[in-house]
Symmetry: C2
Subunit: 227 residues, 2 copies
Amino acid sequence: MASRAILPSTKELSDADRQCAVNKRFPAALVRRLHHGEMLFSEGALPRYCYEIISGVVKEYRTLEDGQREITDFYSDGSFVGVDARGEYTPTIEAVTDCVVRCIPREALFRDAQTTAEISMFLIDLLAERLDRARQRTMKICRKNANQRLAGFLLELAKRQGRTSDVRLPMSRQDIGDHMGLTIETVCRALTEIKKTGVVTMPSARTFTILDEQALAQAAGDERKLH
Amino acid sequence: MASRAILPSTKELSDADRQCAVNKRFPAALVRRLHHGEMLFSEGALPRYCYEIISGVVKEYRTLEDGQREITDFYSDGSFVGVDARGEYTPTIEAVTDCVVRCIPREALFRDAQTTAEISMFLIDLLAERLDRARQRTMKICRKNANQRLAGFLLELAKRQGRTSDVRLPMSRQDIGDHMGLTIETVCRALTEIKKTGVVTMPSARTFTILDEQALAQAAGDERKLH
DNA sequence: CGTCTTCTTGATCGCATTCAACGTGTGTGG
DNA sequence: CCACACACGTTGAATGCGATCAAGAAGACG
């Protein structure tokens, strides 16, 4: 696999590497427990801490004046959130499931980044990866129809959870819609259509099993129609 | 105006500040001239240089398998491009108009970032700003209709060029469409509708004058319809 | 067991796309 | 300088996808 690093000499940081680099600096960081629906911080104010997700899933979102939400991403164990918050553009981080997170003081992290290359490179790599991901998401939303977006979303969930059977959908249909730029009804319909093709089964609304991964990838890809 | 910096203690870097920080390190960087349509580098390979735009406008884009393009952004003088390139996900940078750019060796830049806080902070701030911008763009594309997107685009062009009269549209309708997630026809129709409302005049296809800035901002904003 | 939330399906509507044709402008060579 | 060609821009008509409005089904929870 080709390197995704920002420089050829910089190897791609795995979540473990990141944890390591920051852990060395902040070994005694506070651990905090979150209940489903609780917020780590919300838009507007620059947070005092950023967080590493130890377990559970959080969603990161912004709200428009008219109340519409955009969920930029979901994060689970090994991911860092709140690092890229900037002043008034700080998004909200909310627990999708019960979570355990490690609190890292932002000010100290950025102070250390000024003296420790390991930390600053960690930040640069993290931001570059997020930027790339944000742009790929825009591309998907612009260029793919509802079925393709949902097929891609299921594939990614399965990949993140490292399995194809009994994959969990921890977030609501509304959350999925807010993430994919679709309404809740369209999410339902797209899921139903995918089920109908037989490549995926859903024993319950919040679990699924991929029967034909290749066909699902195909459905997420260049196919204009999914019938 | 509230700070947009990533930390309260970090003041927002203006383009001038950035130029300054990097200039100090790379005072003798090579200058290169580009003709309209020429590429600085293209997707796939990690570029050896990144560039500061001295004059002219470039577009940054990726291409999907099926040939569709997504223009992530347009950059003009004072902006840096190619900094956030990462391995296989490197986008293409192409001159929209004739350009003059300053070449900065990437490897040296990132090496310096490991020893000089000024450089690493420059990179972190640049990436954080791009990330924010990318997400706001996604939000606009998801939640706003064609007329709103175009109104917003015109406003931004005017703002960047620092005037409301004889604002240049250096890019083609196709480029605008690829940037806003619309077809070329829809771009035309949206522009026509905006002209019809009388808030903007277009002496030629590539120039416009804003007659009523507030009304244009309104049209870009929460209005669902523009009649 | 009943209530509330979440999920699903149906019918209709509107916006942007698609396909098609026609204008407009720009640059090149005769 | 004009004629022509070609790229770019504009407008029209028909189609289709996802949004909206509405109602009903399935879980979750006390």
